[in-house]
């Protein structure tokens, strides 16, 4: 985890319950005697997130519709912090940064974290009507957030930046957590796998909460989880279109969840006549990384 990650020491449930009493009903004790929640229960995860966002990110009114992707906050914070650090190294500035979050979702988690931890001004874009509506509702309820974040609907499902980056816009960075899977079936299988892994852990635990929720806590809507051609096609198309916006964006970045996708995507970056970089991140057992590409010279 990034050294500045607010959750590097784990979740302090006593503290979180103290600031959001609703969370208490979701707290269970694991076999090691440590407090935790049932991560396979979507209501529990959402409640945990609400407590985290209020406690550490200044957002007291956050909600997402049932079935929308409920992001794990520490991992999301890692990308934000690693990206900001990369920018500090390669493009230091005294002025606040502007970041575009491509596919911000109903949860707008990156703009929330980015504005709180790094004082970014953010634009979050999404093709999904429901997500955009929910994101707007979150902004409406959180005054401080709405001063730093704007949400834009991408009306062309085949475009990434067109219609979102306006004529006089400048963004220090684009960030993206692309849809991982290449089909709905694939996404469902992925969810099942995660669910079974968690269920195995949960069965060993005493759980106060009985739930009939068949979907995994972190599962989401179609657009959030899959697209035609999956991650490879998504980021590939993003690279192609980014050329047109070379003068308006400092660096383009995207999470790459599958290591095997890195090499082919680097090829596409080179074909687009851009320079690239890979930033590695680690989250417990998980290794992840984001790809950086840019058309203008940044300092080494």
């Amino acid at each position: 985890m990034h050294p500045k990650n607010p959750h590097i020491e784990g979740y302090d449930f006593d503290h979180l319950v103290s600031i959001m009493p609703n969370l208490e009903a979701h707290v269970v004790v694991n076999p090691k005697g440590r407090k935790t929640i049932d991560f396979s229960n979507s209501e529990s995860v959402k409640c945990l997130n609400q407590a985290l966002l209020k406690a550490y990110y200044g957002v007291a009114f956050w909600d997402i519709p049932q079935g929308c992707l409920c992001p794990p906050v520490p991992g999301r914070a890692d990308y934000v912090l690693a990206l900001n650090e990369y920018l500090d190294t390669h493009a230091p500035t005294d002025v606040g940064r502007r970041v575009l979050d491509l596919g911000t979702g109903a949860n707008i988690i990156y703009p929330i974290i980015g504005s709180a931890l790094c004082h970014w001004h953010c634009v979050g874009s999404d093709i999904d009507e429901l997500s955009v509506a929910n994101a707007q509702a979150i902004l409406k309820s959180n005054g401080a957030l709405s001063k730093r974040v704007r949400v834009v609907k991408q009306t062309n499902r085949k475009r990434y930046f067109q219609g979102v980056i306006q004529k006089d816009d400048w963004f220090d960075a684009v960030m993206c957590n692309p849809p991982f899977h290449s089909s709905a079936e694939d996404a469902l299988q992925g969810s099942e796998r995660k669910r079974n892994n968690l269920k195995r852990q949960v069965q060993k635990r005493h759980s106060k909460v009985v739930h009939k929720d068949d979907r995994l806590n972190f599962s989401g809507r179609g657009n959030e989880l899959w697209c035609e051609g999956g991650e490879l096609a998504f980021v590939g198309a993003m690279i192609k279109e980014s050329r047109q916006f070379a003068e308006q964006v400092g660096i383009f970045t995207s999470l790459i969840s599958q290591k095997e996708h890195v090499a082919p995507l680097i090829k596409q970056v080179k074909a687009a006549k851009a320079a690239y970089d890979i930033v590695d991140m680690a989250q417990g057992q998980k290794q992840s990384r984001f790809l950086v590409w840019y058309f203008n010279k940044v300092s080494a």
């Binding site: 607010p6 503290h15 103290s18 600031i19 009493p21 208490e24 209020k54 406690a55 550490y56 990110y57 200044g58 957002v59 007291a60 009114f61 709180a116 931890l117 309820s141 959180n142 005054g143 401080a144």
Partner: protein
Amino acid sequence: MGSTNMITREQALPGRAEKMPILNKHAVFGRNLDGPWPSHAKKAFFGMGCFWGVERLFWNQPGVYVTAAGYMGGFTPNPTYEEVCTGNTGHAEVVMVVYNQEMTDYWTLLECFWENHDPTQGMRQGNDMGTQYRSAIYWVDDMQKMLAEKSLGLYQPNLAKAGFENITTEIAKAREFYFAEDNHQQYLHKNPNGYCGLAGTCVPFV
């Protein structure tokens, strides 16, 4: 989420006799939260919605000696945050502002009070709903009482001119101040990116 209907003494939670144990040390200033204080120190009590932002607002004011987050104005003795959140204690989230009378004065604090929240919202403040978020001034002596009432009288027409409704601020005698849990003391100093719901009406006091 607290109810926006004020409860009666009979309906209130019973609370407890034991005081809330707190660290008697301000996280920013290092001074005692619960006294003793130098002779220049005087207490003031303000409710302006969620107390995290309010406490930070006041500890950043020149002449403020020490601050604390807590509860006042209701019925339940030594309540917990969880109880106050239900609305069944009758308390408001209140900040105790201990100020140095040689460096600042109550009128200056009142100006800060009026300009940094919306005092017309009744039993809520911004999106925080419930009687615990009500606007309130709890005075400790006749001088504070007089100044509080006077300041309301001066501010109301300014608000009215800007299209706001009548001020709903509770102005009453200060009763026992119950300290909030340690977690809540100087919260935004310990958690700089935590929630702050503070937002004024943009109507100047003078």
